[in-house]
Amino acid sequence: FIRFPLYVWFEGMENPGYRSGSFDGLHHPSDDDDDDEMVDIAGATLDFSSTDDVPPLSTGSSAGMNGNGPSKLVDPLEDLVPGVGTYEDFNTIDWVREKSKDRDRHREITNKSRQSTVALLHSLCDAFSGWLLMLLVGLMSGALAGGIDIAAHWLSDLKGGVCLTDFWFNHEHCCWMSNETFQERDRCPEWQSWAELITGKSEGAFAYIMNYMMYIFWALLFSLLAVTLVRAFAPYACGSGIPEIKTILSGFIIRGYLGKWTLIIKTITLVLAVSSGLSLGKEGPLVHVACCCANILCHLFTKYRKNEAKRREVLSAAAAVGVSVAFGAPIGGVLFSLEEVSYYFPLKTLWRSFFAALVAAFTLRSINPFGNSRLVLFYVEFHAPWHLVELAPFVLLGIFGGLWGALFIRANIAWCRRRKSTRLGHYPVIEVLVVTAMTALLAFPNSYTRMSGAELISELFNDCSLLDSSQLCGYKQPANTTDTGVGNSLADRPAGENLYTALWQLALALIFKMLITVITFGMKVPSGLFIPSMAVGAIAGRLLGVGMEQLAYYHHDWVIFKGWCSQGADCITPGLYAMVGAAACLGGVTRMTVSLVVIMFELTGGLEYIVPLMAATMTSKWVADAFGREGIYEAHIRLNGYPFLEPKEEFEHSSLAVDVMRPRRSDPALAVLTQDGMTVGEVETLVESTHYSGFPVVVSQESQRLVGFVFRRDLLISIDNARKRQEGIVSTSQVFFSEHAPSQPPDAPPPLRLRGIMDLSPFTVTDHTPMDITVDIFRKLGLRQCLVTHNGRLLGIITKKDILKHMAQIANRDPDSILFN
């Protein structure tokens, strides 16, 4: 009766689900039937040769031991070799090892803390070090972001003119106390444009041409400085940084990417790149700057310096800080880090990220870069209501955003691929200069492209009131103005001359921005994507909004307008349309969902607009997903061939582990080390003749029973160290991984014990494990490699790179595009 369930279980095992897919005919079908029954124990012990066995851990001796990881069963002498446990550049970390190292460290501190007061204090300090680190990260990032904002404002105003009284003020601050006229804001005697300074005239064709020339000159100078600084000091400072940070957070190592030179150069050149008039933003690079700050500050704390997994927790929080200072949206920043950037996001990190983001936002507010305690330039202040009928144009904006997102990603990836493979990539400096010249040449005549992206968005989000005199608010005054109007809200009015001019200028600006951003993003200067996408969406939204407004004014007796939009009421707010359009376009490009809505809602400060924003964002994501599942950052990860296992994708193919593992049929046999019986010379030859980053250790070549796994780097470092430090180690010394040294003739050189560097608990799957479970294991545990066994014997190995290549092959992509492992 006890056996009955066993048989039932085995019956179930023979389902086609477990046997489908091809597998190498390594065993005959008759063997399978014998193995699957597994009741005949006598047959199964035929292979065992007990002389090779190291007896398993007895429960008595392990009662006193805490950890099951390799570090606890180690000879203390071997633990002190420096360099063991570190990783090479462009390799993936071993999450399991790092996490268990941290757990052991924590356990040791907790145990020691019961012994003395000093140790108790030490354990308290250790617990608080995380919070102190978050505080420092928030302070440093907030201060840097404030500095970047102030410097970028000043430098971009420098293209137009200079403040004569105090040269460090930008245009707005130069005219702080002087009189302005209502029609021409920001004109004052202290601020002079370059034409006025050089020629003495401020109007006329010659002054215009002079201003044009100086604008182009300054733009070229700034971008030349930016690209030469990047090239000379920190080539890793170019681009946005978010794709690489995503990959780093999933376990990849890029040495120097988050270093101090990269930080300095990225900060300086970001200001230069943004001020040069190029169509790029600074949000993505601010995330990189914040992560650099976090990485540098991690070096102050041993807990984070030595452990790669803990460091990535801090980097996740730093990504939240980056978005928080860029948009003044702490909650949106945390959600962005959770949704877009992080790979493993434990709940503890959630609370700490929020804390760091708040500290950074508070620091930024106290630096006050925009002069009125605002955190972002385009903060929206209106609270006008919207009507259900307006959901239709909002969904339309969502469709536009999705279409533009899909188109932009395809075009940008094609352009970047061309830059990667053809001669275009050999001239980065000239490319930057040409693009800047083109942008400056075409942007200056149109006042909407001449202003910076953030200013444009701010003007488009603005709801027109009586106090505005800009072109976009150039409505015709109706004949019968009421003099006793309350407040400044205005009824819908017909468009005047100025507004028509603004509309066609905006349409031209839209086309220009759509085309120029494709070639600007990805250049060898720090470039972000958020502001240009939002600008495109805001222009489209505003155009639609003004169109709707005019439609409502001229046809207020139509069915759709009748109920709610009577004549003289202020029913349509074009600023809201601009906001929804900006969210739709940004969502279409990056495929952000929750974080985008929360960022936009924090920008407006009100809950009224959540429904339109959600409608537009969802529509844009669905439309864009219909064309391609990846956002811009995943597309760039794929373009660069980073080993990033996408956590959101489902692996749908029904292959087995044995299909993906190496060695394949035609490959040479698996390179293994034996538990004993190999000499130092043999081990070195094996390691140097292959490129594998790790080797399984088996009991013997005949039995192929698994003992553990050892990394290449640790092996080389240990052997090198042993040759230098330990006496008597030569090329004929025996290497052993077992607990006790093997018996040797008395004149043999002393053996080398390498059990300390071996991982005694490598993860294994059987050859019949379906690939979707294997991929799930890789994702959830953060594995780098997994051994494949058959009937307890080692068969092969699956690495992350093999999985990525397999997935590429299934999707009909080039498997050789996965470059790193």
Binding site: G147, M177, F182, Y236, I268, S373, R419, K420
Partner: protein
């Protein structure tokens, strides 16, 4: 050593942020800006004055009141007054620091690309040391190079260390440049 420098920098930044709050506000750094739209015959105007927060309203700021007594209330109702503060010290400090760091970096770049090769050639032109930038460095098992290099005791130790660190950093930057700009392996 770099660590302590960085800690110092962070502290100075934090201190500055706090100081800018505490320091006495320049009278020029606060203002009340009132924007008044056109009203009947009166054109739209902007008024500015440096008053405190409690005095920031239409009656205190709009100094030559353009309308008569009974219309003042209606006129002022349409005006919008905002109180704004800034810290000109922070702005000045930031801009000057930015420009100086930029200038230093440019000078260093000019020094590295133009002046250093000339200086090196003048100083070591006569010696037999193999001074090339592509030197692998400490992993070479050449005992010879060790002997040769250890003979240069004439230079003090600190300069040696700085030189060594700088060589290592330049090698790193070269590697980065190769992967990003030449082979387009990362960050394409």
């Amino acid at each position: 050593k770099m660590k302590s420098v960085f800690v110092l920098e962070i502290f100075s930044l934090a201190c500055f942020v706090l100081l800018s709050q505490v320091s006495a506000k320049n009278a020029e750094d606060v203002r009340c800006k009132c924007i008044c739209p056109p009203y009947r015959d009166v054109k739209g105007q902007i008024y500015k004055n440096n008053v405190t927060l409690k005095d920031c309203n239409c009656l205190h700021v709009v100094d030559p009141m353009p309308v008569d007594g009974k219309d003042v209330e209606a006129y002022c109702l349409r005006c919008e007054c905002k109180y704004e503060e800034r810290s000109s010290g922070t702005i000045k400090f930031t801009i000057i620091m930015y420009l100086s760091i930029l200038g230093l970096l440019l000078l260093y770049m000019v020094y590295l690309t133009l002046l250093e090769p000339i200086l090196k050639r003048r100083l070591f032109g006569h010696s037999q040391l193999i001074q090339s930038d592509d030197d692998v460095g400490d992993q070479q098992p050449f005992a010879n190079a060790h002997n040769v290099l250890s003979r240069s005791h004439s230079r003090p130790n600190v300069l040696n260390k700085v030189e060594h660190a700088q060589q290592r950093w330049r090698r790193q930057v070269q590697e980065q440049r190769k992967s990003v700009f030449d082979r387009h392996v990362v960050l394409s």
